[in-house]
Symmetry: C2
Subunit: 139 residues, 2 copies
DNA sequence: GATACAACCTCTAGCCGCTGGAGATTCAAG
DNA sequence: CTTGAATCTCCAGCGGCTAGAGGTTGTATC
């Protein structure tokens, strides 16, 4: 059988054991069975589900969103427009984060570039951080 | 005088009152004085310090890094190479985050683009999330 | 001076998404 | 049967705040 204990599942899904138990606690995943002694037993379906969760987390989805997506995939007859909307909103968030980071990078590059490697009293890094007005763009 | 209570400082530095008290708790900033009744009194120096902290936070610096930067600006005679190093390492982190987000965006765009607005059973969003192999690039 | 009420005080708990540890139990290999 | 790794539950903590309870202080108005 391809059933396994939590440790093996953790390795396969590149997750920590504690994280899997945490996901169970918040109701995302639960072992299809337990041994007499109480050890969790997972099957291939559980593995798929965990991979789904991990992959979605990597893509920046929050737990709430993942919960929704899981419900959708548990009920394949529902319209996929919800899943699409979630992905779209995620994409928007990513675009915003990207834009912010670009501004940040610009500012940091300027800070690094202008540091004359002298004393702090003449360091632009500190100076720029002390006052928004030194910034070359809004953020 | 330009002395003020915590509420006014909060407005000026676009911070929440609780956040300022939190910063005090972790040793980043403390009022130069208190009233007889115990209310915090801040001066212009405190204001500058808080602005420094907030600005650095906006630029993505962690509390530990800010602590270091504050020490540097408190001792202007030290070499600025430390400040420079912190900014540089911050810049590196930002570059990495940027790259990851770009990959994410690509994946999300593909997911959204391929969703046929039909049933979940044929939804690429769910499908892509179910399996890493659907991804067009590593992440 | 009394009163009202906003702003402040401290303290505690909660958010997200895990992560780590203590101490007890179970499982699998030899 | 013994050993030792893996698992169990429970509790606490991370960063960086944020919110609320319940009490005190400060200030404007009458």
């Amino acid at each position: 059988m391809s059933n396994m204990a939590i440790g093996k599942l953790a390795v396969i899904a590149a997750t920590k054991v504690q994280t899997i138990r945490y996901y169970e606690e918040i109701g995302l995943i639960r072992p299809f069975s337990r041994t007499e002694g109480g050890h969790r037993i997972y099957g291939p379906d559980d593995m798929q589900r965990l991979k789904f969760i991990r992959h979605a987390r990597e893509l920046g989805f929050g737990i709430g969103e993942i919960r929704e997506l899981l419900q959708l995939s548990d009920n394949p007859e529902t319209s996929c427009s919800t899943a699409d909307a979630i992905a779209r909103s995620q994409l928007e968030k990513v675009e915003i984060r990207l834009e912010k980071l670009r501004v940040l990078r610009k500012e940091l590059k300027r800070m690094v570039g202008e540091c004359g490697h002298g004393r702090v009293s003449h360091c632009r890094v500190i100076e720029v951080l002390s006052d928004h007005r030194h910034c070359s763009s809004e953020h």
